[in-house]
Symmetry: C2
Subunit: 184 residues, 2 copies
């Protein structure tokens, strides 16, 4: 229905890793635009695939979490989310994270959205899964660096959070607004 826009990639003149830590793997590149203009320092933040889950119980409650987020310095409602381990598919990661962070599992799963945190300076994709009819199957089992509260919110409560900019995480806001666009 609509064709892709013209692709005019940049040429990489030089590339170096500044660091290669789990949450701080940074590539600095000198790049040249098709016009000939050179940008000597373009920074790319490398991350693994990320996932999050819109998990809805049999009785229509959204399984949400809250935790302090140190980048912004705030605590807000979020979807269950996490990082794909090397040998996992995104769906396997999403099911593992939902179980670990909330104790919920089961239900009918489907991939719902693929976005990038920021195509300008990130190299990774965040996958959203829709899990319908989940139920509490275990105790929460988080890592000692995680401090997570679980919340079961109604459709109306989730919509209120979205309507009032009370969920700051763009990677979660995008698929939730899609859900409300598709579920009247």
């Amino acid at each position: 229905m609509i064709k892709n826009p013209e692709h005019r990639p940049w040429q990489v003149l030089s590339s170096e890793y500044l660091d290669k830590k789990p949450w701080f793997t940074v590539r600095k590149e000198s790049v040249q635009l098709p016009s000939g203009v050179v940008v000597p320092d373009w920074y790319i933040f490398e991350f693994p695939k990320w996932i999050n889950v819109i998990a809805i119980t049999k009785d229509g409650k959204f399984v949400m979490i809250s935790q302090y987020r140190h980048g912004l310095g705030t605590t807000s409602y979020e979807l269950v989310a996490g990082v794909c381990d090397p040998n996992e598919t995104p769906e396997q990661s999403a099911k593992r994270e939902l179980l670990e962070e909330s104790g919920y599992g089961g239900g009918e799963w489907s991939e719902y959205m693929r976005v990038c945190p920021n195509p300008t300076n990130h190299n990774n994709i965040s996958y959203t899964f829709l899990a319908i009819g989940v139920e509490r199957v275990a105790e929460q089992n988080t890592e000692d660096t995680e401090d997570i509260d679980v919340h079961l919110l109604s459709r109306q409560e989730v919509r209120y959070l979205l309507d009032n900019n009370m969920m700051p995480q763009a990677l979660h806001v995008a698929p939730l607004w899609r859900w409300f666009a598709e579920n009247r």
Copy 2:
């Protein structure tokens, strides 16, 4: 309607800037969770406020752009977007960027969404504005590091891009899905 979740912030034990460049200002902090667990290296990427614009012409076309994005290595349709200059309000930045990147202006403006690129490791907010009834008022006037095509897309074309994960930028996908949730 719904109260904020309990806020249990971390204590910052030490903080240092690794660099302070325009697109690479990074703070490394040692933090302590309420449980007493210490994370010795938490990285925070500092950026100015960002903006983007859902701009719709008098005849209902969405003013979109496309440009190569080196982080992901792709070229896709995007909203007009940019960075707030120090002395600008987000709305002033959005009007400037729309004019510079597309040549469009005028219309009725309102703030439409506030999200964070990633509350985990980013400190900034991205503001979306809705501009209804814009028209072509000038020539495109981009910087020499920008290589931008302008596209006027129908509502159906924008929805097709969203339905098929053809727009990777989460900061643009979120407000566009909100628009489709609110505009049947």
